[in-house]
């Protein structure tokens, strides 16, 4: 850290100032001039927090996508369909049993199993033929999308969150100070979003721990680097592939429940989240969990900020970020060049 600061004093200073400005924007009450120019602080904070929670959701979807690509070189374009399927199944299960929590393990197992079957019977048969695997995954996504349209129709569904997750909660961030009474208004924010963010962080940290601290994680990282060598050293790599594919698919399914809880589920959401995963992993770098986290955060915050401050051009910002990353660092922010 000290070393970096010594080598790039100017850049470090700029970054430090930016961080300080950002923290000031978030934590201190805004002066009237700033409010006059940018609108109320609450709008900014809501966009920021909305972006972070959206980023958390994107991370859950994209983490599986990037792991599957990093290890197996399979670009699974049916990943968005798995997300939507998980959401619909979660809706059915939670409305049938009345329990929001029971939907998670069931959906994880069911969608994960579907992923296992796809890997075992389709993708494993055409290993090394990347284009063909991608085309097959497109075919699967067309079929799944139409089956889901058949079963669940075109209307949108929303999953009810359990009681303690509904309603707002107060965050230790100043929203505004009442000029006449001097009383502080703390920011109130939907509790379910805060819990989703916490859950995503927990899952992300757990994934990082599994990848970096366990024997299985060692195998997966070795496979990402050089799968032929790993297979040659006697590891039954097909089992590792199955485990990763099943886990990635199951994670996408669980993300579907979360997406259905704080947004809604309808046909077309599958492509939206597929696109989000694509952009997240292009920005973050293929096969990197931390890259996916950073990419998801950037894309989520950009999308929400753009949505609030420049509604008709918000997609362009997301796209420009992707274009800039491709232009200057084609392998992604944390990707390694192969």
């Amino acid at each position: 850290m000290d070393d970096i600061i010594k080598r790039n004093p100017l850049r470090s200073l700029v970054i430090a100032i930016l961080i300080a400005v950002f923290l000031w924007l978030v934590f201190s009450p805004w002066p009237p001039e700033l409010v006059a120019r940018w609108g109320r602080k609450q709008i900014f904070l809501n966009a920021l927090l909305g972006g972070i929670t959206l980023g958390a959701l994107y991370f859950l979807v994209a983490a599986g996508f990037t792991l599957i690509f990093g290890l197996m070189r399979v670009v699974n374009l049916a990943h968005g369909s798995l997300f939507l399927l998980g959401g619909y199944l979660g809706y059915e299960i939670s409305s049938a049993t009345g329990s929001w929590f029971i939907a998670f393990p069931v959906v994880f197992v069911v969608v994960g199993l579907l992923g296992l079957l796809m890997q075992r019977f389709i993708f494993a048969k055409m290993e090394g033929e990347e284009l063909r695997q991608t085309l097959v995954s497109i075919g699967i996504s067309i079929v799944l999308a139409d089956l889901m349209l058949w079963l669940w129709g075109g209307q949108s569904y929303s999953i009810l969150a359990p009681g303690f997750l509904t309603g707002p909660m107060e965050l230790p961030i100043i929203n505004s100070i009442n000029a006449s009474t001097g009383a502080t208004n703390w920011l109130r924010y939907p509790a379910v979003r805060v819990w989703i963010l916490i859950a995503a962080i927990v899952i992300g940290v757990a994934m990082w721990l599994v990848l970096n601290r366990t024997a299985l994680g060692m195998l997966i990282r070795a496979g990402v680097d050089d799968r032929e060598m790993l297979a040659a050293s006697g590891v039954r790599i097909q089992l590792v592939f199955l485990a990763v594919f099943g886990f990635g698919a199951g994670l996408a399914g669980m993300a579907g429940i979360i997406g259905g809880t704080f947004q809604s589920l309808s046909p077309g959401e599958d492509t939206r989240f597929l696109l989000a995963s694509l952009v997240v992993v292009i920005v973050g770098g293929m096969g990197s969990i931390i890259g996916a986290a950073i990419g998801a955060l950037i894309i989520g915050v950009t999308e929400q900020m753009g949505f609030v401050y420049a509604p008709t051009y918000s997609v362009v910002f997301t796209f420009l970020i992707m274009a800039a990353v491709l232009a200057f660092r084609p392998q992604g922010l944390l990707g390694s060049r192969r």
Binding site: G139, W150, L278
Partner: protein
Amino acid sequence: MAMTDHAPRFVNRADQKLWFERIPAPWWALAVVLLFLPVVANTFWLFQIMGWTFILGMIGLSLMFLAGYGGMVSLLQMTVAGVAGYMVAILGTSGTVTVSLGLAWWIVLPAAFLVAAFFATVSGALAVRTEGIYTIMITLAIAAAFFYFTRQNYTIFNGYSGFNLVLPPQLFGVNWRDPVPFYYLSLVLAALSYGAVVYVSRSPFGLALQGVRDNPRRMAALGFNVTAHRVAAYALASIFASAGGILLVWQNAQIAPGTIGIPAAIDVLVVAVVGGMRRPLGPFIGAFIYVILQVFSPDILGFFGFSAERFKLIIGLGFLAIVLFSPDGVLGLWDRWRARRRQQDPQAGGGAA
């Protein structure tokens, strides 16, 4: 899915015939059938089925050119077509007078081609920053971004509703949206595009592009600019896609974000893959199959007791079957069938029944 064994056949100088003598008889038959189709076919067949086939085939052809000769599977071609179509609607006349500029056709059409070519070149330059399977992801992301952009932007693209009443100019006193003129217009443009792709594939540029597809490192070592060839391929392919896109707008008389959405982009891929991505004829065959399925699926599905909306399921399953069992499409099936016949023929002649 290696697309390596398409080598142009060089003809010996000694037995070189005139260009029209080299065209085999089935092609002449096909040309006669297509030219005289309006005599027998009704307007529905001419306008809806054949017109749409040619349009979809041209957009698929631009994908086939990139994928088959350049090794770049781009999901961007429907978007390029959409850019050209949108330009025609924005610069020309449409029902949305607040946005459309209403310029003359001789400004609108070249401008549409130029803007689409520019868009394709810039996107292509981004897409070729990475190789192989990344191309499909980046082009898909660009296509999706453009779709969402057109849907939420009202100042330029008129948002969700898009443009309607976009009609072709009344040139030479002909209403080009009448079935027979539209049929011939799309037929001529499709034939020109087809001929252009065949010609380019045998030109030095096309051969270098195929070299880049097969071995970029060796081509770079030989002094070819690999990136420039790839970007140029995107620019060239944009012409065919733009022509298809402009015809598509004229045929539907409208364009909206739904025209260029992800399902549409994937349909173009389906058309090219089902037909076969090794030869320029493939996309047109794929487009014909697709259009026939689309138009007649209500009857077929109703016959089996399904709802007419399950058309996408048929397309998806058919696409899966093609990719799983015949990666080089229907044309690949045909080639293999012919090869097998040729192998069996001598045996049959020898009396082994």
